[in-house]
């Protein structure tokens, strides 16, 4: 190997090591015999069994998964509509304001969003007795900030969309709605799909906003992990992290496959 190539290869190896060695170690130590996460004492799957017997952790994971599924799906629908309007309607009253408001949650500090939503939900609960803080309030909060991400992805995709495809469909007798259903939506589906995945992952690991709007009985996975880490870590956390890494990797591969299938 020539000198320059060797240098480049070494730099690359260090870069990857910096990013992925910690994750690899987390996975390896989930099979550690010892209770101490830093000392290797032999292979064991006991922390995996402990994790699958850990009711609190499992119910937190189940709650997070339900919230992520619902909020990502609702956010995908609303974000699709918002992105479509931003890309396609050149002028309407309050367009600039609408455009800024849609993306505002991306840059808004989560603490600010959290406190304002908490005040809203508390006020509403006092006035009309609804909504009770828990699954519903967390889901609404997650939808609020993930809509922005879907809208941005959809808008970007539509801005380089060949309009003559839609015109051709209408020319062949398709109503505007049929055109959207049979031409526009199938062609921007990869963008909506990656927006959904983005919303899903954002919801799954959100901690700050969730803590503001969660009720006493509702504990999501990040909240559970955070509180158990404060009590002292055991390798169950490593096992959990391993599962999350695998799920994330699958999502990434799936999203890549969606994009490639389009091209």
């Amino acid at each position: 190997m020539p000198g320059r190539a060797r240098f480049a290869f070494t730099a690359l190896a260090f870069g990857y090591a910096f990013l992925y060695l910690p994750i690899a170690l987390v996975i390896v130590y989930s099979f550690n015999e010892s209770r101490l996460v830093t000392v290797w004492a032999g292979f064991s799957t006991k922390w995996w069994s402990a994790l699958f017997a850990n009711e609190a952790m499992l119910s937190a994971a189940w709650l997070s998964l339900r919230i992520a599924l619902v909020s990502a799906t609702v956010a995908a629908v609303i974000g699709l509509a918002a992105g479509y309007v931003l890309a396609r309607v050149p002028r309407f009253f309050g367009r600039t304001l609408f455009g800024s408001l849609v993306i505002a949650p991306m840059v808004m500090p989560e603490v600010v969003m959290g406190i304002s939503m908490l005040l809203l939900f508390v006020g509403s609960d006092q006035l009309v007795g609804w909504p009770v803080r828990g699954f519903l309030t967390i889901t609404i909060a997650h939808i609020t900030f993930s809509v922005a991400f879907v809208a941005v992805v959809v808008q970007a995709r539509l801005s380089d969309f060949d309009r003559s495809l839609e015109e051709a469909a209408m020319d062949l007798g398709a109503t505007p709605w049929t055109t959207f259903r049979t031409i526009t939506l199938p062609l921007i589906a990869p963008a909506v799909g990656s927006g959904w995945l983005l919303a899903f992952t954002l919801s799954l690991d959100d901690l700050i906003l969730t803590q503001f709007v969660a009720g006493a009985q509702s504990e999501t996975l990040p909240m559970r992990v955070y509180s158990s880490v404060r009590l002292g870590v055991d390798p169950q956390i490593n096992a959990l992290a391993t599962i999350i890494v695998i799920v994330a990797a699958c999502a990434l591969i799936f999203s890549g496959w969606l994009t490639r299938r389009k091209a």
């Binding site: 060949d162 003559s164 495809l165 015109e167 051709a168 469909a169 209408m170 020319d171 062949l172 007798g173 398709a174 109503t175 505007p176 049929t178 049979t182 031409i183 199938p186 062609l187």
Partner: protein, 333 residues
């Protein structure tokens, strides 16, 4: 041919911001003809076509298709189909699904759709390509799919936006004849937009030359070429020498091929003396720039009938030019 025009455009204007894309156009298209809208870029020809299809709304005026006022009628309810310049084939559908799209919108039974799609694909010689994706086709094949898709609903009127622009030169020539043959066979009305005057001249029965949103002249290719009504038309279609006559109050448009080159003073109605300034040898013909004694310049083209000599009139040669009294078209504007 019925007396009522298939398309009747009356006083149609369209502005984009402060720019008048189409400015007070009146035009009748006859049933069963191949009509070409010809003009440079930005002359309004595409906007006019898109208003017939329903993609743009006229600011003023009316468009009647087959006697019916199209004001407020959306594109999907017009008895018109269009072939797009980019072809606009749906990339997520195969060729058969593309061609059958219009029939599926009508809710026809599946077996009738597949029968008619098969016929339409046979008609454009793509019978065994139904399962291919548009991305797997050549440019010429894509053009034929777009044509089949636009014709399958048997529209009263087919609009073609630069139908040959995306094809390479060799393929374009053959496709011209194929489109004309198809139009005659089906007895349909075609309206074609093109910037290529050769294309418009060779294909269209009648054509309209457009300039700055207005129609400069309507007529058969022969009328427009031999009897241009304005300096713009004379200059835009083919090559024309435009000479001032009557002391500059009018002009004469004189085509280069109407002028003869002679060694001695010819016995024609008009004769001028000059010197060859430039020669462009184009194989089938040569184009000469001839400087006259008064300093003006005339273009003369001669067919190279004999194989030799290569340059019958070399540069610098003193020549006589002659043309008949009715060789040119007098222009008052």
């Amino acid at each position: 041919m019925s007396a009522q025009p298939i398309v009747s455009i009356a006083g149609v204007s369209k502005h984009f911001g402060a720019v008048a894309a189409v400015d007070g156009v009146d035009l009748d298209i006859r049933r069963g003809e191949l009509f070409a809208l010809l003009g440079g870029s930005g002359c309004g020809k595409t906007t006019l076509l898109r208003m017939i299809a329903g993609f743009e709304t006229p600011d003023t005026g009316r468009i009647l298709i087959d006697g019916q006022d199209m004001t407020g009628v959306p594109p999907h309810r017009r008895p018109v189909n269009m072939m797009f310049q980019s072809y606009a084939l749906f990339p997520h559908m195969d060729v058969a699904e593309n061609v059958g799209y219009g029939l599926r919108r009508e809710g026809l039974p599946a077996n009738e759709i597949s029968r008619r799609v098969g016929e339409a694909l046979d008609q454009v010689r793509l019978g065994d390509h139904g399962k291919r994706r548009p991305a797997q086709l050549s440019g010429g094949q894509r053009q034929r799919v777009a044509l089949a898709r636009a014709l399958i609903k048997r529209p009263k009127l087919l609009l073609l936006d630069e139908p040959l622009a995306a094809l390479d030169r060799k393929l374009r020539e053959g496709t011209r004849f194929e489109l004309v043959r198809l139009q005659e066979q089906l007895g349909l009305t075609f309206i074609m937009v093109t910037h290529d005057q050769e294309e418009a001249m060779s294909m269209a029965g009648r054509l309209a030359v457009m300039n700055e949103g207005r129609i400069a002249q309507v007529g058969t290719p022969h009328e427009v070429y031999e009897h241009p009504r304005s300096r713009f038309v004379a200059d835009f279609i083919g090559i024309a020498n435009i000479l001032p006559v009557d002391g500059g109050r009018a002009w004469l448009a004189l085509r280069p091929e109407k002028i003869g080159l002679f060694a001695a003073r010819p016995n024609t109605d008009h004769a001028e003396q000059g010197r060859i300034v430039d020669v462009a040898y184009e194989g089938d013909r040569s184009l000469y720039r001839v400087g006259l004694l008064d300093g003006s310049m005339l273009l003369v083209s001669t067919a190279n009938v004999a194989r030799a000599p290569r340059e019958p009139w070399p540069r610098g040669q003193e020549v006589w030019l002659g043309w008949a009294g009715d060789a040119g078209q007098r222009l008052d504007e």
